[in-house]
Symmetry: C2
Subunit: 462 residues, 2 copies
């Protein structure tokens, strides 16, 4: 592949990213705005509130989840602005009244957000995000917060099972075509958080500095008069280090043609169909016999974590994963909710609140969280810390076996930029690697089981 | 709700939509561009090609699928441009060489696209889209075409089962928070294609002219000192026609409080938890006893098509559907593929091509399709028409029982704008209503079954 500069007349300004920043403000359920209108009218909109994001359960059989999307959320916050066009729409449709439009015109989130670092593992009841501010400023973010965290965490949670099953072999994300075009970008990012080594998605490469990868499609072979001329063309254009797709016609002949075209320096061959464990074995023998001992084998074809695990003993060098990872491998969303857990009362003090429901139980009040580790540094409990608000706010672990989980993300409206952009993704990937390594030995088993550690509540006293 | 104009100094120009048009060109797998480079170098990039989109199977047990996303695809085509920023990224990363960058800089799709009208039902093997042009111009669209059609069709296919199960009662889409923020907009649009009556998503309302709807969240009640003051505030702000959420504390007391706050003109109450068939019955009796005989009952709480069907006999007026519809109710993607089926050979004639595979069988050559109807106008077969290229190109049904399915979408690069924007969604919804009504009686049953009609191949002769 050549890395020539673009022709000079097209050379862009360095600051131009090509991703114009659209307002994210209307990625919002209508009722957030109508509730705001009612609360502005009766004065409760100014009450100080704490909203909390958590999930009541993991998908059936899953042992842990992975927080992802935090960086994207912080990026989206900066474009959560009601501009002329947004206000005109809301006015034209009669969604809210003039007083509310005026509030929205000046809307900036001036509150505070803390939560689990992106990449951190979570469990049922983990308070993964805490959003604090007036009711008005915090309620408006509900839909956007949940959309981002539910999607990205679902993908990262599935992806982590795959990188776990791959025991060190690279997993490559190739699922863009099986999900919405913008979800595809976010999904590629989420798989990177969970340890994927590359993505086919160019926009994800551009936006988040991810490594992009690619082989070739059957269409490229079919375009040519025969497989040999297709392979020759690809090697001429991309060099012998390229990956040739050898299963368009006959795999054994495809491998012969591939080595003939690229020589024994051929980078890799890809298998995209058939009985992969068997085929990989055959192809490895054939490549070795042809002298292409360094040529790698990439497999794809509807792989999920179970198929990856089943290939552990096969001579496979990397896994191309599509549909299953971008759709959360059976769990396309996380079921995270955004609940009001405390709000200022008429006396000006913060009071815990919770819906009274037999089936949807929520614990009121602000919470913190910590992971309790045993002497070897393995996680044994998810500790959720509640109690009087000032006690929870000021809480820090008093014993070395508790690793606190909340980190500051937004302080009085100012975003902590460590979590955003390409550096944010890299930081999240490190966080995930450490967090997963800390889980007890059975945590990465694929068979259905209980959460890897139990969630326990602890209540501080005054 | 008030519909006052925005304050004058914010009045936007009428032409400003607030949705700046970002380039969609990098929503593309890297290998499309590297294949292009190799094909440009050996001249095959200029070969005339026909790519076809189809799915090999429906999700397990499903009886039909619904084509959706066509309008979005045509809209995305117009921004599929490699601008300075895109070219700079590709150059900087060494994705392709200078000749390819130059080709991309001038890229416009000048080809022709035909396919099933948006909203049309489809079956395994239905050739839902046909993209024709040079290899270069058609191969670049693969990822974008599939992302859009796979996502939107998955949602519309699930949504159609729900509107079918609701037998005339309105279904309302409220799932934005359970899917990626941009998927949420596309999902709202896809549910409208399948007959949903409204969406909570404001951005979808703005972009596609959809009716937006909303009630209130538990947080609004919890924000207030008690339920009565919350309801009073909502009614003051939004009028008695609003929908009050009555299950934050005790449903029976909630209903009493609601009618007390709004009077017997109360628009609706919403139930979001508990045993809905039983609760709806109780609440209906209570509302009637209080004189609120016109007050409607909206139910939500993890509804899917089966839960909707189970509520058929309950006194429910509309269904709020979230997670299950935006995630395709167990089938979050459609499995549609984009396959090269014919390409110009060295002699300049179009030749059918297909991958030789036991497991992934594709029929080579350009295809058309028609639905065969019985005397009462009910569909009995999906007829896929293949054969010599000129015969298929010129084919029109010669009997009245065949309804042709392909419509022109793009002609020599010119988009047929009937399918785009808000009018496109309305047209698609009409198309779907007609297409579903034409299916045989068992087609909308929710139980697992075979495709509602068999797909048969017919081969024309010279």
């Amino acid at each position: 592949m050549s890395a020539e500069p673009p022709s000079p007349h097209r050379s862009p300004a360095a600051s131009h990213t090509g991703t114009e920043r659209r307002s994210t403000a209307l990625h919002t359920d209508r009722y957030e705005l109508t509730m705001l209108q009612a609360a502005l009218a009766d004065g409760t909109a100014q009450r100080h509130c704490v909203f909390e994001v958590f999930t009541r359960r993991l998908p059936p059989g899953r042992r842990y989840g992975v927080v992802a999307g935090t960086g994207r959320l912080l990026e989206a916050l900066s474009t959560f602005r009601f501009g002329d066009a947004e206000l005109a729409y809301l006015s034209r449709e009669g969604v809210v009244d003039r007083a509310t439009l005026e509030y929205l015109a000046d809307y900036r989130f001036h509150g505070t957000i803390s939560g689990y670092a992106e990449g951190e593992c979570f469990f049922p009841g983990s308070p993964v995000l805490s959003v604090e501010g007036t009711f008005a400023e915090a309620v408006l973010l509900e839909t956007l917060v949940l959309s981002i965290l539910n999607h990205d965490s679902a993908v990262a949670s599935a992806a982590s099972r795959m990188t776990g099953a791959a025991i060190g072999r690279p997993c490559l994300e190739m699922g863009s075509r099986r999900t919405h075009e913008e979800s595809a970008v976010a999904a590629a990012r989420a798989t990177a958080v969970a340890g994927f080594a590359g993505t086919s998605n160019l926009e994800a490469g551009r936006r988040y500095g991810l490594r992009t990868i690619g082989t070739a499609a059957h269409a490229f072979t079919l375009l040519h008069d025969d497989e040999r001329s297709a392979f020759a063309a690809q090697v001429r254009a991309l060099g012998p280090g390229t990956t040739l797709l050898v299963d368009t016609y006959d795999v054994a002949q495809g491998v012969r043609n591939a080595v003939e075209a690229a020589g024994t320096d051929l980078g890799a061959v890809r298998l995209d169909s058939g009985d992969l464990p068997f085929l990989a074995q055959e192809v490895r023998h054939q490549l070795d016999a042809l002298g292409a001992t360094g040529t790698r084998i990439v497999v794809s074809s509807d792989l999920d974590e179970h198929a990856i695990a089943a290939l552990a003993a096969a001579p496979v060098d990397s896994y191309g994963v599509g549909t299953s990872v971008v759709t959360g491998s059976g769990a396309p969303t996380c079921g995270m909710v955004y609940k009001l857990v405390a709000r200022e009362g008429p006396d000006g003090t913060l009071q815990p609140v919770a819906k009274a429901s037999a089936t949807k139980k929520s614990l009121g009040g602000r919470k913190q969280a910590a992971r309790r580790l045993d002497e070897s540094g393995r996680a044994i409990e998810e500790v959720v810390v509640g109690g009087p608000d000032h006690a929870v706010t000021g809480w820090t672990p008093d014993t070395a076996d508790l690793r606190p989980l909340h980190v500051p993300l937004v302080n009085d409206g100012a975003v902590d930029t460590r979590w955003t952009g390409a550096p944010g993704v890299a930081l999240a990937a490190q966080t995930h690697e450490r967090s997963r390594a800390e889980l007890p030995p059975g945590a990465t088993r694929l068979s259905a089981g209980d959460p890897a550690v139990p969630t326990v509540q602890t209540t501080l006293t005054d």
